[in-house]
Amino acid sequence: MELTDADLIARVLSDDDQHAFGELVRRHQSSVRGLLRQLTRTDVSLADDLAQEAFIRAYKNIRSFRGEARFSTWLYRIAYNCFREDARKRKELVGVDEELLQAEHDPQTVDPGLRHDLMHALNLLPLHERTAIVLCCQNGLSHDEAARVLDIPLGTVKTNVLRGREKLKRTLAAWGPN
């Protein structure tokens, strides 16, 4: 019988069982790395470094996990904080998204070969909308959970998801069937 996340966390807490924590990493690595790849705009190397940092931080602070939220939600929050801290250090958080948002409306910057690539369209969204879309639509978090991960008001998450969806729909509709 496969152990639940709660069972594995209990083992880490009681015995500092690193194998149990390794199993937690194995279970959640894809979604956490996927989220960070979206946030870093597919910079795989940076995303994996941040994911590793996030998991190590989760191990060090696992006693602060009270089980009120899902373990994956807690991990996303740590991963998002790692990304924000790194972005602050690199001074990439301010300015970049506005440039790419403008690029979205410039047809020459859209590669015709990627017209049907939803991930490409997603990458063109501003950071706050892209993050909300990835968390809620791709990873299945509720708006409330996403608000806790991003530490922003619930209404802001709803607005970001709504706007992000509308932009994606418009982009996909504009592509249309050939």
């Binding site: 639940t4 594995l8 209990a10 994911a51 190590i56 991930m119 791709q138 969806r165 729909k169």
Partner: protein, 114 residues
Amino acid sequence: MIDDEMLDRQLREAAPYIDDDGFTARVVANLPVAQREPRWLRAMILLGLAILGSGIAYLLSGGFIRQGMIQLANFPIWLLLVFAFGCGLVVGAFAIIFALRKTPEVRDFTRLEF
């Protein structure tokens, strides 16, 4: 125009599963080493405290415990065996409850639905 449900489904399908490819091993290799005292030291501390507590209780009882032991020695052997068996049952029950609470594999049996 595609609806929200279709868009969400396409987004989920567009996100590929990322193979572990040694990632977990790298994370585990970089975890900090646990700073815990060895098990034998914890056992010695517990044993020492138990002996110290028993000694203090004996001294503070003013001979009450010694008299009780002498009276107990005069009891019939079958009564002592019943008493010992009862004590064993109580301690065993506590040990089983503690083991169930600490062992996830055993605790999982309680979640089975029949």
